[in-house]
Symmetry: C2
Subunit: 233 residues, 2 copies
DNA sequence: TAGATTGTTAATCGATTAACAATC
DNA sequence: TAGATTGTTAATCGATTAACAATC
């Protein structure tokens, strides 16, 4: 309670915590009560010092020859991440990705719950998708302030991203999980976390492109593949 | 052609390239022919030296007072990323996320095309989803080798991720875009790129949790919100 | 005890930022 | 020309890894 926990944490550490949590939850389910940082490190293919440092950083201590207590570690990580209890969130944009997120059942383990969705299409008030009510975007700002919702998942088409984000900011949203590829221009007080799927894809495809210098390309002949595919099955 | 391009590139640089590309494509569409690195930097909220370094790194040079030629830059970035022409990919797992990816129309701009999808449920051969044929997973290995497909998008439920990845590796897939939260254990020769949505969510929620030390939580009272919501609209 | 694992300090590595002369 | 922008070198910053004594 008193000790020297930092007031700001390394982003890479925060990114790794969900992996520790997932692994530890799995071990706990299998009946274990503790795990050495060295084992966690081996599983995740990282240095064991890293694991110990990350856990120390949020206040966890291990025991030589035994490791880290699972129940305690899981608790502390969940608390640190804010996954210990549930925050209500609004989801804006019920396209394919938005609906996939509504259908995802892992959010309850991660401290969030989608309580309403919004779409610009003329959906009737009262419609539900997988038990989540869907309203016209025009009702969003009002509901944000009335229900004091602070988190929004943004899944609208790219051309609408900026204006929707501005609306959410004005309505009082304090954090946006941004699934659009748009760099949002909002007040500094609003936390924006980008889900950079394109950056991730870039990492994949650039590694495939031989050593990134050759003019070579693979598999450009996709018309042929479509034909073959139909014949092949 | 001869000059000192590195043989390995900083990951942060590769991650930024899609952002440069997107911005530059937008400017080009609006009729511009060049953009200063300083302008790109201001737009993306990063240091301008970074932009120049990143672009220099893949072989681009700018002109003082003018900046970087858009057509050339777009071309070089696309080529570097392997987005210049199209690779065929298989998608495994046609749950909500898988279907969202099939429906996403941005892949053609990013060098990939989903030519078939696979699912373990007993889907009839011949079924299509948004014009993409869907087959039983049992046919996947055979088709990978016959069509020489090298990329797979993995969107199966977590419990099936590891065994599906193993199957893909054995079938000859060389790169897996992994949407599951599972740390895949596959041959080192296979490129795995994780889409870490959970890490991203962690970054968001941990920043919301005051300064990460207090026991405070916001908005735990979601039962009340559900009731209010129904009444509110 | 022996030895696996811990926490911590120091060394290394790599990326970002600052400084500035060269350019058009 | 003047001055915005470039490319490049040096300084800073932050994260990872190595080393090792302390612990149970």
């Amino acid at each position: 309670m008193d000790s020297k926990l930092p007031t700001t944490y390394p982003l890479p550490t925060i990114r790794r915590l969900p992996h520790y949590l997932r692994y530890m939850r799995g071990l706990q389910r299998r009946g274990l009560v503790a795990v050495p940082g060295t084992t966690v490190a081996r599983y995740l293919n990282i240095d064991s010092t890293q694991v110990r440092k990350d856990l120390a950083c949020i206040g966890l201590a291990g025991k030589p020859r035994i490791g880290f207590d699972l129940a305690e570690s899981i608790d502390v990580i969940e608390d640190f991440l804010g996954w210990g209890n549930t925050s209500d969130v609004f989801l804006v944009g019920t396209g394919n990705l938005g609906r996939a997120l509504i259908s995802f059942d892992g959010f309850s383990d991660r401290g969030v719950q989608i309580i309403a969705a919004f779409d610009s299409d003329g959906i009737q008030p009262g419609t539900r998708y997988k038990s989540v009510p869907v309203y016209p975007v025009s009702k969003c700002a009002d509901l944000v302030s009335r229900l004091k919702v602070s988190i929004a998942f943004l899944c609208v088409p790219a051309p609408e991203a900026q204006k929707t984000a501005a609306m959410l900011g004005a309505a009082g949203i304090t954090a946006i999980w941004n699934f659009t590829p748009v760099k949002l221009d909002v007040s500094d007080s609003i936390i924006v976390e980008d889900v950079n799927m394109c950056s991730s894809l870039a990492l994949l495809t650039s590694r495939l492109t031989s050593n990134n210098n050759s003019g070579e390309r693979r598999n450009g002949d996709n018309q042929r593949n479509e034909t073959e595919l139909v014949a092949a099955v």
